[in-house]
C-alpha cells in the first residue's frame, strides 16, 4: 500500500467517522433547538403567570372589575398558549406535566369565577355575609393552592426545560468534541504514522545506500510493502543489481581481456614461430609462391621465385609482372590474375615462366584472399614447375594412344576373326544340318553328326574366346531390360533338361516364394552364366541330380541368390578358388577327360562381378558341388518382361502362312544356305546381292519380311534399312519387318541395328531353327522392334 494510499485511507476513515457522527450532531442540534424553544415558551408562561398572580392579587385586594377582566384575559391567554404548545411537545412526560398545568389553570380559573360570584353575592342585599366571607376564604385558599401548584409545575417544567437545554448543549459540545477528537486523532495518527514510516524507511534507505556507496554491491535493501519508499528501495535494489552485474561484467571483462592479451601474446609468439616456419618452408620450397595486392603488385615472393627471376626478393616487393617479364607474358599472367580476383575462388591454370633454358610450364593454383565481407584484398599463387611432368605426360599419351591403337587393332582383329570364322562356320553348320536332313546311311550320318557337333563345339570355343577377350578389353557392356527371374530360371533349366535326361540325370528347379515378378537386368548374361554352370554340373555328374535354385541372398537387400548344384565328382578344397581362374580346370586329367577351354567359370565370374554380385563354390569331392552367385537387381515394377521368341516357337503359324521374303546377301554360300533352310517351308525367297538392290526391290514390290546382311558391297545393310524406313515414311506406308544378319557378334551392333530402324538382329551363325523363329517373331509382331540377339 502506498503512503499516499494510507494517508487517503486515514483521511477517509476520519471523514467516515465524522459522517457517522453527523446524524448525532444534527439530532443534538435539533434537540438543542427544541429545548431552547421550550425554554422560551416556559419563560413566556412564567412571565404570564407572574402577571396573572399580580392581577389576581389586585383583584383580591380591591375586587375591581378591571383587575378581574385582566386576570381572566391573562388566564385565558395562558391556557391558549399551552393548548397551542401541546402540539409541539413530543415527550409524553413533558406533555403530561403540561396537561396537568393546564388542568390546574382551568381549576384556578373556575375557583376564580366562584370567588367573583361570591363577591357579587356579598354585594347583594339579604345574603348571609358570614358564610360568604368564610367561603371566600376557603376559595382564596384553594386559589392559592392551585397557584402554588401552577407555580410548582411551571418551575418543574422550566427546570426540565433548562435541564434539556443543558443536556442538548452537552450533546452538542460532546459531539463537537468527538468531531474534533476524531479529526485530531486522524490527523495525528496520519502525521505520526507517516512520519514514523517515512523516517524508519528513510533510515533503512540511508543505511542501505550508504553501504552500497561503500562498495557493498551484494547488499540489498529489505523493505516490504508497496508504498513509494518500498518502490524506491526496489529501484535502488534494481540499480544495485545492475551495478553489480556491470561491475562483475567489467571484472570478468578485465580478466578475460588479460587472458586474451596473454593468449594474444602467445598467439603472436606462435604466429612468429609459424611465420618463421612458413618463411622457412616458403624459402626452401622449390615451388613458386607469391602474393600480390589487388593492383597486382608483388607483396610477397619466396626465395625460389626470386632466384628464378635472378633478383633479391626484397627488391621485388611492389613490382608488377610488367616490370619483370616481356609484355605479352606479363599481360597473360595479369589476365589470369584478374580472372581469379573476379571469380573469387581458387583456380588452377597453366602458365609459362622464363627460365635459362627457355619457357617452363607451371601449374599455378591462384586463389583470392578475401576479407570478412568476401571482397578480395590480395591474390596468392602456388605454382609448380610441371615441365618434366608435361614431357612425361606427352610420352605417356603417346604410349596410351599406341596401346589404344593396339587394342583397337586387337578388337578389330577379333571382330574380323569373329566374322571371318563365323561366316564359314555358319555355312559348315548349316550345311551339316541340311546334310543331316537328307537320306544318309549310318556311316554318313555319323560323319555328318560328328562334323556338326564339332562345328558347334568350335563355335562355343570361339564365342567363349570372344567374350573373354571383350571382358578383358573392357568392351563388354551389359544391357538392362525388364524380365522375370523365375521365368528366366525355368526356361534355362528347360533348355538343359533334355541334355540332363540324355545323361540319365534328374534336373530340379527350386524357386523360392515371394520373389519379385519383374526386375531390371541383363537376363541374357544371367542365362549365359546359368547355362555354363548347369552345363558344367551335367558334364561332371554321372548319376544323381543336378538342379538350379533361386532365392533371396541372406542379409543383402534386393539381391537374388542363384544356386546350381549337383551330385557329381566334386572339387578338392584347395581348388575351389583356382577353378575361377582363366584356363584352369580341376586338374589336367579333367581337361583330358571332359574337354573344354577352361574359360566358362572365368567368364561367369567376370559377368557376375560386372553385374555387382559374387560367385563361389562349396564342394565335397565325390559328393557334389554347389555353385552360388548373387545378383543385385533394380526393381522393375510396372515393366513388362520381354517375351522371348521361344514362347511361340512351337506355333504352327510359320508352317501354315507362307511369307514373301527378300534376302540381301552378297555371299553366295549364304544365299545357298538360306535357300536350303527355306526350301521345305511355305516361304518364298527373293535374292538380291546388296543393299541398293534391296532398296530398289522394296520400292517396287511388296515383301512380308526383308533379311539383310550387314556387310555388303555398294550399300551396307544399315544404310539400306534407313533408306527403306525413310521411303516408307515419305509414302505413308506400313513398315516392312527388317531382319539384319551380322557375323560381328560384338557389343554395339544391337544398338546400331535399332538406330537403323531394323526390326530384329540375328548374329551369325544362323541355323535353320534360329531363322524360322526369327521369321515367326517379326511376322507375328511386325510393329515391334526387338533387336535382342536370338
Amino acid at each position: 500500500m502506498t503512503i499516499l494510499s494510507r494517508i487517503n485511507a486515514i483521511i477517509i476513515a476520519s471523514m467516515v467517522s465524522v459522517l457517522i457522527m453527523t446524524p448525532f450532531a444534527i439530532w443534538s442540534m435539533i434537540e438543542f433547538n427544541t429545548a431552547t424553544q421550550h425554554e422560551h415558551f416556559m419563560e413566556e408562561i412564567i412571565e404570564n403567570i407572574i402577571d396573572e398572580a399580580s392581577l389576581r392579587d389586585q383583584y383580591y385586594l380591591y375586587r375591581e372589575d378591571r383587575a378581574m377582566a385582566q386576570w381572566l384575559g391573562k388566564n385565558t391567554e395562558i391556557i391558549r398558549m399551552i393548548n397551542e404548545e401541546l402540539a409541539f411537545w413530543e415527550l409524553a412526560e413533558d406533555r403530561k406535566v403540561l396537561q396537568e398545568l393546564q388542568r390546574y389553570l382551568e381549576e384556578n380559573s373556575r375557583i376564580f369565577y366562584r370567588i367573583i360570584n361570591n363577591s357579587k353575592q356579598l354585594k347583594s342585599v339579604g345574603t348571609d355575609a358570614a358564610l360568604l366571607m368564610e367561603l371566600d376564604k376557603r376559595l382564596l385558599s384553594q386559589s392559592l393552592v392551585k397557584t402554588a401548584m401552577i407555580h410548582d409545575l411551571t418551575k418543574q417544567l422550566h427546570e426540565e426545560s433548562d435541564e434539556r437545554i443543558r443536556r442538548a448543549f452537552r450533546w452538542v459540545i460532546g459531539i463537537m468534541g468527538v468531531y474534533a477528537t476524531v479529526l485530531s486523532l486522524g490527523v495525528a495518527t496520519m502525521l505520526i504514522f507517516v512520519s514514523r514510516l517515512i523516517r524508519r524507511r528513510l533510515l533503512v534507505l540511508h543505511a542501505g545506500t550508504a553501504l552500497v556507496a561503500q562498495g557493498r554491491l551484494d547488499y540489498r535493501l529489505e523493505m516490504a510493502g508497496s508504498d513509494e519508499l518500498a518502490d524506491v528501495a526496489r529501484s535502488v535494489n534494481s540499480m544495485t543489481d545492475k551495478l553489480q552485474a556491470i561491475t562483475q561484467a567489467l571484472e570478468t571483462d578485465l580478466v578475460e581481456r588479460r587472458s586474451a592479451e596473454e593468449r594474444l601474446d602467445r598467439t603472436y609468439q606462435e604466429l612468429r614461430a609459424k611465420e618463421e616456419q612458413l618463411r622457412a618452408i616458403l624459402d626452401n620450397s622449390d615451388t613458386v609462391i607469391y602474393l600480390k595486392d589487388t593492383n597486382l603488385r608483388y607483396q610477397l615472393i619466396n626465395r625460389h621465385f626470386a632466384r628464378l627471376l635472378g633478383q633479391e626478393h626484397d627488391r621485388l616487393q611492389g613490382k608488377t609482372d610488367g616490370d619483370l617479364f616481356p609484355a605479352s607474358l606479363a599481360e597473360t599472367l595479369q589476365a589470369n590474375d584478374r580472372i581469379v580476383l573476379t571469380c573469387g575462388h581458387p583456380c588452377e591454370m597453366e602458365e609459362s615462366l622464363p627460365h635459362e633454358d627457355g619457357l617452363h610450364t607451371y601449374i599455378a593454383v591462384k586463389f583470392p584472399l578475401l576479407d570478412s565481407h568476401g571482397a578480395p584484398y590480395a591474390l596468392g599463387c602456388v605454382a609448380t614447375d610441371i615441365t618434366g611432368h608435361k614431357q612425361l605426360e606427352e610420352s605417356l599419351t603417346q604410349a596410351k594412344e599406341a596401346a589404344e591403337s593396339a587394342s583397337r587393332a586387337k578388337s578389330d582383329f577379333l571382330s574380323a576373326m569373329s566374322h571371318e570364322i563365323r561366316t564359314p562356320m555358319n555355312v559348315v553348320l548349316g550345311m551339316s544340318e541340311m546334310l543331316l536332313e537328307t537320306p544318309l546311311n549310318a556311316g554318313q550320318r555319323h560323319y555328318a553328326q560328328t562334323m556338326h557337333h564339332s562345328g558347334q563345339a568350335l563355335l562355343r570355343v570361339i564365342n567363349d574366346i570372344l567374350d573373354f577377350s571383350r571382358i578383358e578389353a573392357g568392351h563388354f557392356a551389359l544391357s538392362e531390360q525388364p524380365f522375370s527371374p523365375e521365368q528366366m530360371v525355368r526356361e534355362t533349366a528347360g533348355l538343359m533338361r533334355i541334355t540332363a535326361m540324355e545323361q540319365g540325370l534328374r534336373l530340379e528347379e527350386e524357386i523360392a516364394f515371394g520373389l519379385p515378378g519383374t526386375i531390371l537386368g541383363d537376363d541374357a548374361r544371367l542365362r549365359q552364366i546359368l547355362l555354363n554352370l548347369l552345363g558344367n554340373a551335367i558334364k561332371f555328374t554321372h548319376h544323381g541330380t543336378v538342379g538350379v535354385a533361386l532365392g533371396w541372398a541372406e542379409g543383402e537387400p534386393d539381391t537374388l541368390l542363384f544356386k546350381v548344384y549337383d551330385t557329381g565328382i566334386g572339387i578338392a578344397p584347395e581348388l575351389t578358388e583356382q577353378i575361377f581362374e582363366q584356363f584352369v580346370q580341376g586338374d589336367a586329367g579333367i581337361t583330358r577327360r571332359y574337354g573344354g577351354t577352361g574359360l566358362g567359370l572365368t567368364i561367369s565370374r567376370r559377368l557376375v562381378e560386372l553385374m555387382g554380385g559374387r560367385i563361389w563354390v562349396e564342394s565335397r569331392p565325390g559328393e557334389g558341388s554347389d555353385f552360388h552367385f548373387t545378383f543385385p537387381f533394380r526393381k522393375g515394377e510396372g515393366l513388362m518382361p520381354v517375351t522371348e521368341a521361344r514362347e511361340w516357337s512351337d506355333s504352327p503359324f510359320a508352317e501354315e502362312t507362307g511369307l514373301r521374303i527378300l534376302l540381301a546377301e552378297d555371299v553366295e554360300e549364304n544365299q545357298v544356305l538360306f535357300e536350303a533352310y527355306l526350301a521345305q517351308t511355305p516361304h518364298r525367297l527373293v535374292l538380291v546381292n546388296d543393299g541398293l538392290e534391296a532398296l530398289e526391290r522394296v520400292r517396287r514390290e511388296r515383301f512380308d519380311v526383308v533379311i539383310m546382311d550387314v556387310q555388303m558391297p555398294r550399300m551396307d545393310g544399315y544404310t539400306a534399312a534407313r533408306a527403306i524406313r525413310q521411303w516408307e515414311a515419305e509414302n505413308g506406308l506400313p513398315q516392312v519387318p527388317i531382319i539384319t544378319l551380322s557375323a560381328h557378334a560384338m557389343e554395339g551392333e544391337v544398338e546400331r541395328s535399332r538406330e537403323a530402324g531394323c526390326t530384329l538382329y540375328l548374329s551369325k551363325p544362323i541355323g535353320k531353327r534360329k531363322l524360322l523363329e526369327g521369321l515367326r517373331q517379326v511376322a507375328g509382331e511386325t510393329s515391334r522392334v526387338n533387336n535382342a540377339p536370338v
Binding site: E107, L131, E134, L135, R138, L144, V145, A148, M149, D152
Partner: protein, 325 residues
C-alpha cells in the same frame, strides 16, 4: 507529617464509606392506613424497598390517619401518616412533630354521600338532615366547607360524629341521612346505597394532603434512617408510576379489598413525594377554620414552616422541595 495526615484521612474516609455502604438493619414501626393515600407505603413494603434500605418496617395499619398519628404521639410508632387536618389540630395542641413529606394530594377524595329517600337530591337539601362526620379529620373540614359553599351553616344540620368504619352501617340503615367521608369507605358506601345514594363532590373547595409525620425528637436522632425510609418511598413512587396495575394489585392484597375498588379510585390521587406550599396553605386555612368554629382556642397562627423537616427529603430528592423558604 502531611503524608501521615493524608493516610489517616484516607482511612477515615474509607471507614465512613464502608459504614454508609453497609448499614445495619434498623427496625422501624410505622403507623399508616388502609386508605389510598398510603399506596406508596404498601408498595414499598410489598416490593421490599424498605428491606433494600436495611429497614425492618413494622406496619401498624389503621382505617384513618388521625388514629395512626395518635399511635405516633403515644410512642407506639416511630413514623405515622395523616392528612393535614389531624396534624394541624395536634400542632395547635402543642405536639412536637415534624412533617417529613407530603405523600399524596387530592381534591376528589372527600365527598358527601346522602340517601335520596331522605329527600336529598341536591346539596341544599342537606339542611336539617342528619349528617355523620369524623371530627378532627378532613371529613369534618370538608363537610364544613361544603356546607358554606352551598349556603348552609353547620347549625343547619344535625351532626353525628362517627368513625369512618361506622359510617356505612349508619347510612345504609338510615340512622343518618348523609355522611362526610373518604375512600375507600366512600366508594364502598356509594356502592352499598346503590340507587338510593347520591354523592356530592366539590374539587374547588378543598385540597387534601397526606403526610409522613415523625416526632421531632425522633427526627433529630435518626436523620439517616429517615433518609433511607424516604429513599424506599421514592423507589415505590417510581415503581407506582411505571407499573400502576401491579401497584393496584399490591394495595388490594395489602388491605384485603377488591382490586376493582382500588382501580376505580386510582386516578383521584397523586402518589408523589414532595414538600410544597399547599401543605402550608391548607394548615393555615384549616387553622383559621378551626379557630373560627371554636374547634381550637384562638391564638396566633403557628409557624407551620418550623414543623416541616426538610433535610431528609432534601438529602434524597431535593427537587421535591417546593416550599419557598
Amino acid at each position: 507529617m502531611s503524608g501521615l495526615r493524608f493516610v489517616l484521612l484516607l482511612v477515615l474516609v474509607l471507614s465512613g464509606c464502608r459504614e454508609s455502604a453497609n448499614p445495619e438493619i434498623h427496625k422501624l414501626t410505622v403507623a399508616y392506613t388502609t386508605q389510598p393515600q398510603c399506596t406508596l407505603l404498601h408498595v414499598a413494603q410489598a416490593k421490599g424497598f424498605f428491606a433494600e434500605e436495611k429497614l425492618d418496617v413494622q406496619p401498624r395499619l389503621f382505617t384513618f390517619g388521625k388514629m395512626a398519628l395518635q399511635e405516633l404521639l403515644e410512642d407506639r410508632a416511630d413514623l405515622a401518616t395523616a392528612a393535614e387536618t389531624p396534624i394541624m389540630f395536634n400542632i395547635l395542641k402543642g405536639e412536637k412533630i415534624f412533617v417529613l413529606a407530603n405523600i399524596d394530594t387530592s381534591t376528589t377524595n372527600n365527598a358527601i354521600v346522602a340517601r335520596k329517600d331522605a329527600g336529598i337530591v341536591q346539596p341544599t337539601d342537606l339542611a336539617g338532615k342528619r349528617i355523620a362526620l369524623s371530627p378532627g379529620t378532613t371529613s369534618d373540614f370538608f363537610l364544613s366547607t361544603f356546607l358554606i359553599a352551598n349556603g348552609l351553616s353547620r347549625q343547619q344540620i344535625h351532626e353525628l360524629p362517627l368513625k369512618p368504619e361506622e359510617m356505612q352501617e349508619a347510612i345504609v340503615h338510615g340512622r343518618v341521612d348523609a355522611i362526610s367521608t373518604w375512600n375507600y369507605p366512600l366508594t364502598q358506601i356509594v356502592q352499598a346505597l346503590g340507587a338510593n345514594g347520591t354523592t356530592f363532590f366539590d374539587r374547588d373547595i378543598y385540597t387534601e394532603t397526606y403526610n409522613l409525620v415523625a416526632k421531632q425528637e425522633f427526627v433529630q436522632k435518626n436523620p439517616a434512617i429517615l433518609e433511607r425510609f424516604l429513599r424506599a418511598l421514592i423507589k415505590a413512587e417510581r415503581f407506582t408510576q411505571q407499573q400502576p396495575l401491579v401497584a393496584q394489585e399490591i394495595v388490594a392484597q395489602a388491605i384485603h379489598v377488591n382490586r376493582e375498588l382500588v382501580r376505580s379510585v386510582w386516578n383521584n390521587f397523586g402518589y408523589r413525594i414532595v414538600l410544597d406550599q399547599i401543605l402550608l396553605i391548607m394548615l393555615e386555612d384549616e387553622t383559621r377554620w378551626a379557630m373560627s368554629h371554636g374547634l381550637a382556642k384562638p391564638a396566633a397562627m403557628p409557624d407551620y414552616l418550623s414543623y416541616i423537616h426538610f433535610d431528609a427529603l432534601k438529602a434524597v430528592k431535593p427537587e421535591a422541595i417546593r416550599i419557598k423558604r
